[in-house]
Amino acid sequence: MQATVTSNENIFGSYFHLEVAAKGIGRKAGPGTFYMLKVASGTDPLLRRPISLHRVVSDDAVRFLYKSVGRGTNILGRLVPGDSLDIIGPLGNGFKVGKSVKLAMLVAGGIGVAPLLGLAEHIMKTRTDVTVVAFIGGRSEEDLLAIQEFRELGVRMYLCTEDGSLARCGIVTDTIEEYIKRYAPSGTKGWEMFSCGPKGMLRGVDAIASMHKIKHHASLEANMACGVGACMGCVVSILDRKAGVPVYKKVCDDGPVFDAEDVVW
């Protein structure tokens, strides 16, 4: 569908907020779903780029948070309001917040925070019975994103940076472990983790989740061609519980969110 860029703001460093409008674009967009963006009209770059829903603005507008890291996202960075952008989506399963959840632990590494803000917002709006806490890590001060928005939502945050330039010096697993040490003794029943970030981080988070028997929903990334389940290009190895063997599942279609316990890291 042809969306119209309503704003594209370089928030700092290589991070941008992009807001687009198109009839119905936000209607069925659940937290953790994503869109495929065609950044240029020619055949180079050829493929669409997957970008997560950051925030639903309205039925007809959504917001993205993206990092300019290569050719495609660099071109995105040059969009100006009024430009037209070819988008498909929302795609993917998104985060599902089960009935029994009491504490939603959102775990973000760097740009991985993108889908988690929308998740927080969604939970706050639809589930007053759930407490949301966010563990946000990044390389440096400027890689801690969406802090202001989480604050406005009233989400309690645990921040850390690898270089110590802001908040705690360390990685996000440290802050989670500390949190657990502090609060788990009174029980982790109803605790679930929702994470997005670099693979190494997700694996580390999952080790903690398993140890403490906390259900962990991880949003994964993969190179994508179609984004709709047709090409089989984006698979990850996931344990098939019934068969007891790993099978290839599609990140675009079966995911991007998987039960982290089943992911063959």
């Binding site: 065609k38 055949t43 180079d44 770059p45 050829l46 493929l47 669409r48 070819d86 498909i88 993969a222 190179n223 994508m224 061609a225 179609c226 984004g227 709709v228 389940g229 047709a230 090409c231 089989m232 290009g233 984006c234 698979v235 990850v236 190895s237 099978v247 290839y248 279609d253």
Partner: protein, 317 residues
């Protein structure tokens, strides 16, 4: 009796119907194997009945897991893939995937492959008995699997043997999908004709490779992969042209078709019908848009029947 005068001219009628041998299609637009899943994925974007045919992901006797990821990467105006023919297997296809396609007024081409001639034969035989399969496309040109695939397609005798076996196993129209990764496709096309196939699918992907200079690793785990997309279109057009001049079989042309002009380019080069592959990924409605575009071209250029254009590239004497 006086004739009635029509004051407004009726919308021009153009005929898009084509025949790939015994396979009759209402228009020349098909989707390429491996790029359209089993049809369901794209049915959300338009009514599949719009298309002439769809070709489903390559089917093998048993389900296959395929290659480890990463399986795809982008290249200039193209992409590499080494899916490794992950598929549900022919039986599950027939029972779980095919029924969905019954809802549509569309021809279904089942793309098949195997590790041995016997496997090809067995898959073809099962599809022969399945309701709603209208043709079999024999992939002897997949660059991404060790055995089978390209090993058959780059040897003249194996090409003949596989195709002959499939021909014997089914009464359905058979298309041979030949490898472009050979010095000259024409002798393979001749062999395919001798084996009794009804048409040729040209081209499969070119064998390629890409290395990430940061990590110094191949960009896809399989090391090499198949190059598809607009980048390869000039190679595909050349092969379709060469084969059409040399061999009498109808051709299902493909390789880098993005829009209707590209489709017409293939038809002019000698393709009777075309398959849309990588373009589906870029634009989910690509194949449907191409049907519309061909019609428009015909109206604008006064082509009453698309078959008039087949092979009609204007070569100066």
């Amino acid at each position: 009796m006086t004739k009635r005068k029509t004051t407004t001219p009726p919308e021009k009628q153009v005929s898009l119907a084509v025949e790939l041998g015994p396979l009759k299609m209402k228009n020349p637009v098909c989707t390429a194997s491996g790029t359209f899943g089993y049809g369901e994925e794209y049915s959300r974007y338009y009514d599949l009945s719009k298309l002439g045919a769809i070709t489903v992901k390559g089917l093998s006797l048993k389900p296959l897991q395929g290659n480890p990821p990463p399986r795809i990467c982008e290249t200039p105006s193209g992409m590499l893939n080494a899916i490794g023919l992950q598929n549900v297997g022919v039986d599950e296809f027939i029972h779980k995937k095919l029924p969905f396609l019954h809802r549509y007024d569309i021809k279904v081409v089942a793309n098949i492959f195997g590790n041995t001639i016997e496997e090809y034969e067995a898959v073809a035989a099962r599809l022969d008995r399945a309701a709603g399969v209208h043709a079999i496309e024999v992939n002897i040109s997949c660059p991404n699997v060790k055995k089978g695939g390209m090993a058959f397609g780059t040897d003249l005798d194996s090409t003949y043997d596989v195709l002959k076996a499939v021909r014997g196993a089914t009464g359905l129209p058979v298309l041979a999908k030949l490898s472009p990764n050979v010095t000259d496709v024409v002798p393979f096309a001749v062999k395919a004709a001798e084996a009794g196939v009804d048409g040729l699918s040209l081209i499969n992907t070119l064998l390629g490779m890409s290395i990430n200079v940061k990590t110094r690793k191949p960009r896809i785990a399989n090391i090499t992969g198949g190059l598809s997309g607009p980048a390869i279109r000039p190679v595909a057009i050349r092969i379709v042209y060469q084969v059409h001049r040399a061999v009498g079989l109808p051709i299902l042309g493909m390789g880098g078709i993005i829009n209707s002009d590209d489709a017409i380019e293939f038809i002019l080069a000698g393709a009777t019908a075309v398959s849309v592959g990588t373009a589906n990924f870029v634009n989910p409605t690509a194949a449907s848009d191409i049907v519309d575009g061909i019609k428009k071209y015909m109206i604008e250029n006064d082509i009453a029947d698309i078959r008039q254009l087949v092979g009609k590239v204007d070569i100066p004497a």
